[in-house]
Amino acid sequence: MIVGGWLPARVADVLPSTEHARVLRLDVPDWPGNLPGQHLDIRLTAEDGYQAERSYSIASYGPGTVVELGVDTVPDGEVSPYLTEEVRPGDALEVKGPLGAYFVWDAADPAPVQLVAGGSGIVPLLAMARARAATPDAAPFRLLYSVRSAADAMYRDEVERLAGTGVEVTWAYTRTAPEGWRGTVGRLSAASLTASAWPADRTPVAFVCGPTGFVESAADLLVQAGYDPARVRTERFGGL
């Protein structure tokens, strides 16, 4: 599924997510459908003709022309504040995609899947978990979702409900844990990762997405735990 040009899109829905993030549903009449984990580019054109482009992960998958994005505000960003604060249903923009074959879950792969999300890195992983939930015979999934606090978790309610769909969910809190939390609070450690992730002898495939620093450290920890580096797929979208 390779798409070369820009496709016209219209904002269909804007849904609240967290204090600094929103879920957008775009109506893209010419969208050819997408695989779980793919992304798209958005192009905004200002009244003076100035254009800005950015990549966003897609939370939806499969055929259909409504594309769901989860967008977190990048402080001082050029595109995300518009998408999280100003955009309204009916607004027009352009998209290019779907893009990417590297960070895609193949439902026919029998290997157990380890998902590791840092913050808004949940978005493409949620597309994979949604696809898993709709495929009863597919490989088992585990999701480790690291957030600053429960209030910072995009798709929190949906992730909580994944538990009954073949996806085991483990939360990690880096700043503040909810009341009654028995685990540790802080950056992901080898101990906390191996406590919840598939053991390496299950030959899992891993998808890790989030800010660059988070992804690099989580991917290193998985490789140290014995994961095949070629089966640890990463998507790093900036930040520290």
Binding site: Y102, E235, G239
Partner: protein, 107 residues
């Protein structure tokens, strides 16, 4: 969008801090260069011999250009930027070999 955005190519734009992302961030631009999805193009670094998919490379994107670096030794593999024509220009750096994946079969 902000009415005070810097214009591309200006000093103000160049001074913007580069975003440290990965090869997945430039796939949209690369659809103008390659007929296959660029994320699975295998690049072999001429400096250190490491190889891997473009999606896993380190990319510094400062809006003027995206510099694609070897994840192992940080040598610049490719520089991708907008040409004056409006198309995409790609400068080849320390790439010993570039292997495109087989195109997807229509099933």
């Amino acid at each position: 969008m902000s009415p005070t955005h810097p214009a591309p190519g200006t000093a103000e734009a160049a001074a913007e801090v580069a975003r440290h992302v990965d090869g997945n961030a430039i796939l949209g631009m690369l659809t103008d260069v390659f007929a296959v999805d660029a994320s699975l193009i295998e690049l072999t670094c001429r400096a250190c011999g490491a190889n891997g998919p473009l999606g896993a490379t380190d990319v510094e994107d400062d809006r003027v250009a995206a510099i694609v670096r070897c994840r192992s030794c940080t040598h610049t593999l490719l520089t991708v930027s907008r040409a004056e024509s409006g198309g995409v220009q790609l400068a080849i750096g320390a790439v010993a070999l570039l292997v495109a994946p087989a195109p997807p079969s229509e099933s």
